[in-house]
Symmetry: C2
């Protein structure tokens, strides 16, 4: 039924598995030693493949980062799927999408930073075109999921677009706000700026303001979205957030710079 699955299954399957293992390892290094600790030599040394093979998978070090960001987007897509299944009205489901994004950035700060750095020109310049394309495609799909909720809201009448506004504009604004909130919290966590503000609190408050501004019913005055936020959290807690690590022993390495 599928269009054309590559015939050489044993080959390409092993290839895929190895690529996943390499990415997992890269992620591990990133978590442990920061971005400066991630070098191709180190990645080779800790893996069971050689440099040449590594470069058979990734065209450059930056390509590894882009690959990690693709990985992140796929996990995000999975979380978004959960959010869309939330049992509630449309504005709650939109809130669930924001929750998923927030939850991911909090649970996987390293990967979220990958998302940030992968959008940096220095990284994009040196990544393989195929992977960049894949990333763009995933981003489009995620955006489509957001627009799904908006369309549903328009259909059931809880949201009405002003004249001259398009669904894409609204989804863009949502994305921008979510991105801004989570991105700003990443570096600000260690800095003192905005100290004392809870990430979750700020998030839900921002979204409420935006949705109220959009006139999305029921307004925050008429509904306890704090409670919704909490209920949404439950369906994500049940689901496993992070997959088990493949290489738990990473101790025999020299200490980072």
């Amino acid at each position: 039924m599928l269009p054309q699955p590559p015939m050489q299954n044993s080959r390409s399957l092993a290839r895929q598995l190895r690529e996943q293992a390499l990415l997992k390892l890269a992620q591990q290094i990133l978590r442990q030693d920061g971005f400066a600790g991630l070098t191709m030599d180190r990645l080779t040394a800790l893996s069971d493949v050689s440099k040449g093979t590594l470069y058979n998978h990734f065209s450059s070090k930056e390509d590894v980062l882009t690959a990690l960001s693709v990985d992140s987007l796929e996990r995000l897509q999975h979380l978004f799927q959960l959010a869309l299944n939330f049992n509630g009205h449309s504005r709650e489901r939109a809130l669930a999408l924001h929750y998923a994004y927030h939850r991911f950035s909090a649970a996987e700060p390293t990967l979220f930073l990958c998302l940030l750095t992968a959008a940096t020109p220095g990284v994009m310049e040196k990544s393989s075109p195929e992977r960049l394309l894949r990333r763009q495609q995933l981003e489009t799909e995620l955006l489509t999921m957001c627009q799904t909720v908006l369309s549903a809201a328009l259909a059931d009448g809880s949201l009405t677009l002003p004249a001259g506004a398009a669904v894409e504009q609204y989804s863009f604004i949502n994305w921008a706000l979510a991105f801004g909130c989570n991105a700003l919290f990443a570096p600000l966590r260690q800095l003192g700026l905005f100290a004392g503000l809870q990430a979750g609190q700020i998030n839900i408050q921002s979204i409420n303001l935006l949705f109220d501004g959009m006139g999305w019913l029921p307004l925050s005055a008429d509904w306890d979205y704090q409670a919704s936020w909490h209920r949404i959290g439950l369906i994500f807690s049940q689901q496993l957030m992070s997959d088990p690590l493949i290489h738990p022993t990473l101790n025999q390495t020299q200490e980072p710079a």
Copy 2:
């Protein structure tokens, strides 16, 4: 009258001038050859100082990026000052702040990307503490300027905080939205995603939604903020946006990788 200006004026003045020239040159390279093209060797070769002297000014390559981001923040501060002087009601002045931010990111995409990359852990890890401190200080000042407008709005009654909300939260949300909008537009400009959306249009629309959600009077239904946006633009156009380039001849270099 000044507290204690360093006595060795001729020395430190020359030093400051040279540092400015170096930063200008770095910016030039960045514009021309992208982030990959900026290397310390190249920066030295194109300047009239040696490597050692360069490292007398900047502790590392990343420190150069942080320095550029500090530079950007200073220019942003200048633009914010202009915005605060805009003759209008408080919500218009807030809009002017957003305009300044947007205008800067559009006019100086390279520097705006510096702001992004300088917040990256890989860069922060290797920048000099003094410069990082300076950056944080500037960010605080910018944020204070935002809060000034919010406080004024609270004072004149055009804005009222709901119970349990603080001014910092509101300024954070504003900052996050502005950052998200402009950051998302940066890579998307070259990509096809969101094609056909005008950055300025999206920006003003987002802000209107947020401010309406905050209940900031006059609401967008009762005031033509499109016209305000245009009027605000005038005071920025009069002011010079970009300073003249010091090294217009940058042609004798080898072509980038």
